[in-house]
Symmetry: C2
Subunit: 202 residues, 2 copies
Amino acid sequence: MGRHSDAKQRILDSARVLFHARSYSAVGIQEICDHAAVKKGSFYHFFPSKQALTLELLDQSWLGFEQAFISSLLNPERPALQRIVHFFKLGCEMQQRLLDKTGCVLGCPFGNLAMELSTQDDLLRAKLQVFFQRMETVLEKALLEAIRTGELAENTDTKLSAKAMLAYLEGLLLMAKTGNNLQDFTVLSEMALKLITNRCKD
Amino acid sequence: MGRHSDAKQRILDSARVLFHARSYSAVGIQEICDHAAVKKGSFYHFFPSKQALTLELLDQSWLGFEQAFISSLLNPERPALQRIVHFFKLGCEMQQRLLDKTGCVLGCPFGNLAMELSTQDDLLRAKLQVFFQRMETVLEKALLEAIRTGELAENTDTKLSAKAMLAYLEGLLLMAKTGNNLQDFTVLSEMALKLITNRCKD
DNA sequence: CTTGTAATTTACCAACCAGTCAACTATTAT
DNA sequence: ATAATAGTTGACTGGTTGGTAAATTACAAG
């Protein structure tokens, strides 16, 4: 019943792009609506608040991220460790595409929001933390498979190594964003595997 | 001539604390003034804009950071590599202190602003980039001394290793902030030295 | 003690903020 | 055809944003 429309999706898409390019607080609902060619009244027809929009936005973004990045990280055609390097490379290419389009290194859409909002909105913080945990789990899966194939020692601390590599990736993205420059990103990202650690005393 | 006052410093201190606890855009000038017990008119007597305040704030913060952290990183009493580990530990202790005081892991005051503002204010971005470069230089100095003392191989790529370790530190701080939790920080930070790399083919 | 100067105070601005509401329109299922 | 539903619209709220202007106060040097 009633009419149907893609306005809600347009709002979500606009918010994703604008939040990524600038920040959560720097982008107002009016601007999102303008970008989506939607009146503010419609926004509040679909979302009760900016926070609610962002929660939904994040779920969608994660799905897109899963499709674009995680699939390749679990793709069994490549050796597991090489897949992790490839995953970093995919991230670099994505940043390059955004740099070409916008003139700015935009960094990680999750990391950006996590940094900005963690101390200000506990719901959004918790959601972003879950995404990072999922990401760690996926990285750990690759490490576990690397153990199975003999690429890695049995006593590799997969959880810790995954955590370290994710933190390193987020840090690299922050540095690239701050320098508005991707030059070192590739070579630095190839060093991520160095963070793989063994249990107990290394 | 004229009267003297510490209002300017109070404004700087308040802004530093509030920006660190929340974010640049989330903290208004009115709130800074209230926190500093100063009227807004006075604010604009001392600073032409929020950006100008922040530029000055950052210079002061860097001096404080230098005094609290960098000195120990160049202190020749300890072996150079151990100093880097100690530097990470100092950072962790500082985060713990702020967590006790505020209930939140606040992360790096420079990294937070860099993440939020890099795509929005090129002046502030450039300033923060310079701080990161200085930080890399200091880390590199420690690495160079480690080479001199034989702790590290001659062909260590000190620049690249310093970059990697700084990115890793910033990433760790982001993850701790997102989890509002410092539990893994210590053990993860001890892995920073793993990022030390040799030139050419590693 | 006066004069120049720096600091303070108050009132103010237009623009924007997130969010509300009721009226209206288009569509779809019956 | 009609009634229920879903989407659209524009006007509106109270509060806040960064920033301005002018008058006033306090002080320090001559």
